[in-house]
């Protein structure tokens, strides 16, 4: 077999073994428990910081290892196998969406204050874009930030924010000029405890239960102007878009890991379970069904790796990335559904892992831009 699909090198595979060992020893045995408690220990952030997993692609001056995005891709794939979409999402949000914009666009002072402690896992970060009135239409966001001396006064609310309840800081999308459409958007880093910033209840979810998904409220919340990302007004839309490619790739990569895990789970089940005097895998229809799933998985993997290869090669592969996000996350839903079906009645029972994969997979085609929005982007790229 082609080593690492012609994408990963031997050292990436060595790193994969390390991540897999961490996942097997420190995450998987507790996945069910954390999902049930709808929370995972805060210490996992510091543990991941200690392991260097939160700063793989960030510079050494900020405590990262400057190893590049392919290492983070390996991490994302393997985290997809941990059995808890919520744990993967909470930790993943830290190193993909919350710190990505800080690294790319933050001032040095902002990087020292927020990026470095987030890489160490000491501060939990979140990215706040989606609002109760809508998330797909980023240019139409309504939360405002009015300049007042050396502060911004923020009013509005956000919802469905991963790490929202526990976050020490939120990279917040605000309108600094409400009349200017997407050109009026800016990103502002708001710290926990800032007067006027409050956090609502932790939301109950179909899947990703171990992650904390929150509502955030801002009422005349005064945020120092020094917290304006990069010190630039009106750049928010580009800053968000600048990290969207990686966010979408990260969701596709997580879906690959989840599919690998589901297929392993179902293979064990059909070898073990007997009906009509045979192990299930002795029925050709069962073998063929799994062969089809493995084929769909491989196709999704190839499209994702294609987009990833273009991305790490420095291309702004917006169409391919959107296609990969859509295909990988939707394939994962279908694979999960088929694997659940192959479990029979057991698939419907909470004590079997497959139901959690089925619930967790469903977020893929919604979060980080819906499949419909991916189609919008692809159509635009086609010139339609």
């Amino acid at each position: 077999m082609l080593q690492g699909y012609g994408l990963y090198l031997e050292e990436h595979e060595a790193f994969r073994r390390t991540v897999r060992a961490v996942v097997e020893k420190e995450l998987k045995p507790f996945a069910s428990q954390w999902e049930e408690q709808e929370e995972f220990p805060r210490e996992l952030f510091t543990r991941f910081g200690e392991l260097g997993f939160l700063g793989l692609k960030y510079p050494e001056v900020h405590g990262g290892s400057n190893a590049g995005e392919l290492y983070e891709a390996v991490l994302l794939e393997e985290m997809g196998r941990c059995g808890s979409g919520g744990v993967a999402a909470g930790l993943g949000a830290q190193h993909t969406i919350a710190t990505g914009p800080l690294h790319k666009f933050g001032t040095e002072e902002q990087k020292q204050r927020f990026l470095a402690p987030a890489i160490r896992g000491e501060k939990i970060g979140a990215l706040g874009i989606t609002e109760p009135n809508g998330g797909s239409d980023v240019a139409g966001l309504r939360t405002t930030a009015r300049r007042d001396g050396d502060h911004y006064v923020v009013n509005g609310s956000k919802t469905y924010i991963t790490n929202g309840v526990r976050a020490d800081f939120v990279v917040l999308a605000v309108k600094t000029n409400p009349d200017a459409g997407h050109k009026g958007l800016s990103l502002l880093v708001v710290e926990k405890g800032t007067p006027g910033f409050s956090v609502g209840r932790k939301l109950k979810k179909l899947g990703w239960r171990a992650s904390d998904t929150g509502e955030l409220f801002f009422e005349d919340c005064r945020v120092p102007a020094a917290n304006l990302l990069g010190g630039l007004e009106g750049q928010g839309f580009y800053q968000i878009m600048g990290n969207f490619q990686w966010e979408r790739l990260s969701l596709a990569l997580g879906a690959l890991g989840a599919m690998a895990e589901m297929l392993e789970v179902v293979m064990a089940h059909v070898k073990d379970r007997r009906a009509f005097g045979h192990a299930l895998h002795e029925f050709q229809v069962v073998r063929h069904r799994i062969a089809e799933l493995a084929t769909d998985f491989e196709a999704a993997r190839q499209l994702t790796y294609h987009a990833l290869r273009l991305h790490v090669g420095g291309e702004y592969a917006i169409a391919q990335t959107s296609m990969a996000k859509k295909v990988a996350t939707e394939t994962a839903c279908r694979v999960a559904d088929a694997c659940l079906q192959l479990h029979g009645g057991a698939g419907y029972m909470m004590e079997y892992d497959i139901q959690r994969h089925w619930r967790d997979a469903r977020l893929g085609p919604i979060g980080g831009g819906t499949s419909e929005i991916m189609n919008e982007i692809i159509a635009k790229q086609l010139g339609l």
């Binding site: 060595a14 392991l51 793989l56």
Partner: protein
């Protein structure tokens, strides 16, 4: 101090092991491999000792080109350099010990650490042969008093204790009825048991650094060791599948069955 540690390539216990129909060995296609877990514990102990006392960990493996993967793993954990004895084909425990003897005589370590056994064929022989061949003291099944949840373990304190002038080593050994403590003059051979330590992960910086660490290639011929096996494997077979258990209604029946059917009490 200088510590020589072995790193055998073994089948990953997670993979499904199947015996070939003709009993000549196991089916290798599709198998995954890893470093023998007892050797990994040896590497960890070596790293802790040199962190405390200074020096280097040299890691050695015998096999084809593929064993470099296990050497790189040990280098990524923190070993300084590696010795690869390039050999394919049959090899018995005396052959391994003979090769390691020559490597040890060349490297002149203060301590050789091996796993008490390799998890592939569970022989538990090489460390003992090696100590005999070298004429050194040996302490097998090294363990420790503290638990794997203790503070010492968290702080990566070595379990093997060096004597005041670094001329001896104190080793706690796992024996049938508890723990025995030995003091052994250096140089010595130590083999690791399971509860000696929890090996570290290979960190990303470790993996990067390992790429440029040297691996020296040797061969049985270069070491002048005749590795013609004295032990011949005649046939391999899977153990018979376990029969299903039975449920007994009460303790009295259990005792009766243990006494009269199984004849174990």
């Amino acid at each position: 101090m200088k510590i020589l540690v072995t790193a055998k390539r073994v089948e990953d216990p997670e993979s499904k092991i199947k015996v070939k129909p003709d009993g000549s060995g196991i089916v290798q296609e599709g198998l995954k491999y890893k470093i023998n877990p007892f050797d990994e514990i040896g590497v960890e102990e070596g790293l802790r000792l040199v962190a405390k006392h200074g020096g280097e960990v040299v890691v050695v493996s015998i096999g084809g080109k593929e064993v470099q993967e296990q050497l790189r793993h040990a280098l990524a954990m923190g070993a300084t350099r590696a010795v690869w004895v390039n050999h394919t084909g049959p090899l018995d425990q005396m052959g391994v010990a003979g090769l390691l003897q020559k490597v040890a005589e060349k490297e002149k370590p203060d301590l050789v650490i091996l796993g008490k056994q390799a998890i592939d064929d569970d022989q538990n022989q090489v460390g003992q042969y090696l100590a005999e061949f070298l004429g050194w003291g040996q302490a097998t099944f090294a363990s420790k008093v503290e638990s794997l949840e203790s503070e010492q373990e968290k702080n990566k304190v070595p379990a093997l204790q060096m004597g005041a002038d670094n001329k001896s080593v104190r080793v706690v050994r796992e024996v049938d009825n508890g723990l025995a403590t030995l003091e052994c003059a250096l140089p010595a051979v130590v083999t690791t048991d399971l509860r000696l330590n929890l090996p570290r992960y290979a960190s990303l910086p470790g993996i990067m650094k390992a790429k440029s660490k040297p691996i020296e290639e040797l061969t049985p011929a270069k070491l002048s060791v005749d590795v013609t096996p004295k032990v011949q494997v005649l046939k391999m077979a899977s153990p018979p599948p376990r029969k299903a258990g039975i449920k007994v209604p009460d303790v009295a029946t259990l005792v009766d069955k243990l006494r009269n059917e199984a004849k174990v009490v």
